[in-house]
Symmetry: C2
Subunit: 215 residues, 2 copies
DNA sequence: AATTAAATTTAGGCAAATCTAAAAATAGTT
DNA sequence: AACTATTTTTAGATTTGCCTAAATTTAATT
């Protein structure tokens, strides 16, 4: 597996969101910041290797082998992110770019030992589940803050958007994984929410609420 | 800097052994397990970037910028090797291949934090000095076991050959960095040495003695 | 000095991963 | 059903890093 093949595979996996449905060329191209024609080339290559199903003009979908492969890359990515935060004191908004590189390091022993060093974590710094050696993982049964009713309360268990900008916004407003959050009110006009976050009260826009998971 | 450029630069640096002299194309090709014509191509590219001096048929030598760059790659390599041994319980014969990959990860913060986690180590698992952020390092003033007289004694501070085969030989005979070693006798015929290693006595061939550093 | 040997470079080509521009297929709309 | 718009693929080119084979330069030997 080349680095590029791994990146395509991971993107296809994420776009499919665990489902089996087929992913269109354009969506992959946009996500990878590349051109549709490049995607077509790679689709053929991945199909030749048995990692995706591909029929002309029909998009791609993952095979069993492809899913397994993708999960192993995701596992590496999230373990490295966890390492960076837990052991090297990176902030949660600084880890993704570096993990994009580290996820391609080839060494089974390395990743197993890393897993052990981190005490076999189940979730990464953004609340995303870390697949185990055999691809198994437990997703939190979480809800988007934006879809909960007034009065609901729970604990922040993850974020949907993990862009640096969004994570820094959350830092500034002291929203982090593990924080208890209660919905005090909802503004009908723009969908913004009044929240109690720990001790404090804050108002967040609908856009923000769409990217925070509660449990 | 591409991965390939970094690998060439590091090889040229190591072949030069810190000296300023010029390195021939063939030597680089052999070390990199590639062809001389490929080396010529890369020599031009590195020269264009100001990392080596290159004149047709005259071999290459490193520029100041090239040395600085090479030292930063060596720093990364040796810090990662140290990490693998100290934090992930790798054996000293298992780290090189993985470090060959890890040394190309681009993140200044990552390497500085790693340095900190390891408590700013001065030497890697093979006794080689780890350059600091600004390229400074202290080489042990060490001697090859093969070049010391009978009666000499000291402490093993490094190995010249760090191949897996050699390191495993050393493990088997309980020779490791930090072990006190004394030369009890020398066989004139084949140059083999009788040693006291810690408590035990061992005989090692000349070839072995040529790859152990004492201080 | 001429010849041979070795080292090095050039020329031309190939595979991976990308691109642009044009062609083909599919989907959406009158 | 026919036309239009969108999506997707093909064709041909480019860059990087590598190769082989041939030409060139330098080094070593008669
Ligand atoms: Mn990430
Ligand atoms: Mn993550
Ligand atoms: Mn090494
Ligand atoms: Mn080393």
């Amino acid at each position: 597996m080349t680095r590029s093949e791994e990146n395509y595979l991971k993107t296809i996996f994420h776009l499919g969101n665990g489902d089996v449905g087929s992913i269109n060329t354009n969506a992959i191209a946009e996500q990878m910041e590349t051109k549709p024609s490049s995607v077509t080339d790679m689709a053929k290559k991945l199909a030749d290797k048995g990692l995706v199903h591909y029929k002309k003009y029909q998009g791609v979908s993952m095979t069993e082998a492809g899913i397994k492969m993708a999960l192993s890359i995701v596992r590496k990515h999230r373990l490295w992110e966890t390492f960076l935060v837990e052991k090297l004191d990176f902030a949660w908004d600084e880890v993704h770019e570096v993990a994009e590189q580290l996820e391609h390091i080839k060494s089974e022993k390395l990743i197993d030992k890393l897993d052990q060093l981190l005490d076999f974590p189940k979730y990464d710094p953004h609340g995303d589940p870390i697949p185990g050696k055999n691809g198994e993982f437990q997703e939190h049964n979480k809800d988007l803050l934006s879809e909960l009713p007034v009065g609901a309360h729970g604990v922040c268990v993850g974020v949907k958007d993990s862009s640096s900008a969004f994570l820094q916004y959350l830092d500034k407003h002291e929203i982090s994984i593990g924080k208890p959050i209660q919905i005090l009110g909802k503004e009908a006009f723009d969908g913004s929410l009044q929240l109690r976050i720990g001790e404090r009260e804050h108002t967040v826009s609908h856009q923000i609420a769409c990217n925070i998971y509660l449990k």
